[in-house]
Amino acid sequence: MFKSIFDQYEWNEVKAGIYAKTSRDVEQALHHQRRSLDDFAALISPAAAPYLAQMAAISNTLTRQRFGNTMQLYIPMYLSNECQNICTYCGFSLDNKIKRKTLSPAEILMETAAIKEMGFDHVLLVTGEAHQQVGTDYFKKVLQLLRPHFSNISMEVQPMDEEDYRELTAEGLHAVLVYQETYHQDDYKKHHPKGRKSNFEYRLETPDRLGRAGIHKMGLGVLIGLEDWRTDSFFTALHLGYLEKTYWQTKYSISFPRLRPFSGGLTPKVVMTDRELVQLICAYRLLNQEVELSISTREEETFRDHIIHLGITAMSAASKTNPGGYVVDAQSLEQFEISDERSAAVIAEMLKGKGYEPVWKDWDPAFSGQ
């Protein structure tokens, strides 16, 4: 279990180590063929800032060598905004007085039709954490409902038990995204004061449960803005390295959600600049040539258009972050504001214009489940 490795690291020591990196450490890291976690620490450190152009060039080469000139496209479908957790940064938080909504099967199919119409074949199902309304049985039914319509179904919902993951994988679930939000235990407590999500350890061990359940792919990440992003990213990379070695048949992806404004929201403790996000993306690629790097519509148009070349391999497009957002109830409250509101067709054309093939289908249900 990752916990036993995690416990060997102390946040403040890790942080001090990153901030103590020098240009010499960065240069060494740039020249290594295979880069270590220590190299990664150098590449995400302030000392690496002047080397960003070199990092970008290497990241571009490594990414194209591994993934070619392609970009995976996916779209989220928010199924529910019911939530029993209080999370200080989230629009769906229990203490946020909003109208609660969980899509019915008929509504899910309406949303599906709209999504398919845009050309998507990979859907990411999103909910809050509400075991009564959106528990394992609900997800099983949704997977059965959606399996004929999508070749790739991913989920970003509450952490579950190993057995739940096993059952959902058998129903055709391909990937699960579960972000630790922050690896800083005290801060985690502060931002998740109530609900099952306040259990740091259960969340920390979720990827282990996913791995044991034999999931095809899992996504990791932290919510950038809660804590020092460099230290949090170091822990994410540590987690990734452990998982790759342990659950070696699973594919991994990393996301970099930056805290966005939402109704009744929290001001980020730490603001990450565009330049720093580019540094982080490139650092991940230099550490790991194989990992998928994903960017959502939280980011702005210009930024998204440019980071395509810098290591990103998957992006969402035309997203709505409210249940029923595509047709059923377009006006309901969003989880967070999106910044890139361009249509899927426009994004696809933009990609082609930059010499990238938009990839809509990269999985087949025949490979999932029984």
Binding site: R34, A53, Q54, A57, I58, N60, K245, F303, H306
Partner: protein, 257 residues
């Protein structure tokens, strides 16, 4: 130099050695002692099991020399399990170097039989060190069934060709949670150093020492090479690059905002 731990047992030498191909038991003994090796593999087929005064074993009676019986000669998992049980009986150790090479010509390890035998031997309580091709997936499968280490080959056994499998060894080392011991093909101290610099936990050398003009001197050379390679690995090798890393206009957009 960090000590190496395999199945709870600590080794201060990362040079493992073999006992075959020496011109005499005396030379073997001198060479092994000179090598500093603490783990010595012995072919069960060479041991006279009824003879307590077996000549080879007599020359291995030193407290620092731990014996690692091997199953060389078997062709199937079933034969390997039987041989391991005989070895446990005869040499009073539950450590076993599992090697199954059905082809007598190139002595290529059989991955299918090796995985089957490893699974069974782990269940029977053996500390299993399987000799395999430098196959990263097979190494993960062996780790999963509970082997104490993996022993991928550097090049065909006895060939002295060095690390022809270097690219695959790197992957194995990068993703392994158990010690990786590079076995077979190491023909010169520089090969051993290369494996250690790469991050291998240990190397096993036999032919290169046994058939050297002066095996004792060669054992000393390997000892030094293994230590140098390991220390270099722990010290953190600087990378090398043919050309300067070109910067690019890819991030110019950051200045435009």
């Amino acid at each position: 130099m960090e000590p190496l731990i395999i199945a709870g047992k600590q080794f201060s030498s990362r040079l493992f050695t073999g006992t075959g191909k020496f011109s005499s038991p005396d030379i073997m003994e001198s060479a092994l002692l000179a090598s500093g090796s603490e783990l010595v593999t012995v072919a069960l087929k060479r041991v006279e099991m009824d003879n307590k005064a077996d000549d080879m074993l007599q020359h291995l009676q030193h407290p620092q020399l731990n014996l690692l019986p091997n199953t060389s000669g078997v062709r199937t998992a079933k034969e390997a399990v039987y041989a391991a049980q005989l070895a446990r009986e005869a040499l009073e150790t539950n450590w076993i170097k599992l090697e199954i090479h059905p082809d007598p010509r190139y002595l290529m390890p059989d991955p299918v039989e090796t995985l089957l035998a490893a699974t069974e031997l782990v269940k029977l309580g053996f500390i299993v060190l399987p000799y395999v091709h430098a196959d990263p997936v097979l190494c993960k499968r062996l780790e999963e069934v509970g082997t104490a280490a993996v022993m991928p080959l550097g090049s065909p056994i006895g060939s002295n060709k060095g690390l022809k499998t270097a690219d695959f060894l790197e992957i194995i080392i990068a993703q392994s949670n158990i010690p990786v011991i590079v076995d077979a093909g190491i023909g010169a101290p520089s090969h051993a150093a290369q494996a250690m610099e790469m991050g291998a936990s240990a190397v096993l050398v036999n032919t290169a020492i046994a058939v050297a003009r002066n095996p004792v001197q060669m054992a000393v050379a390997f000892k030094a090479a293994v230590e140098a390679g390991r220390i270099a690995y722990e010290a953190g090798l600087p990378g090398s690059s043919q050309q300067a890393i070109a910067s690019s206009p890819l991030i110019a957009f950051l200045d435009e905002a």
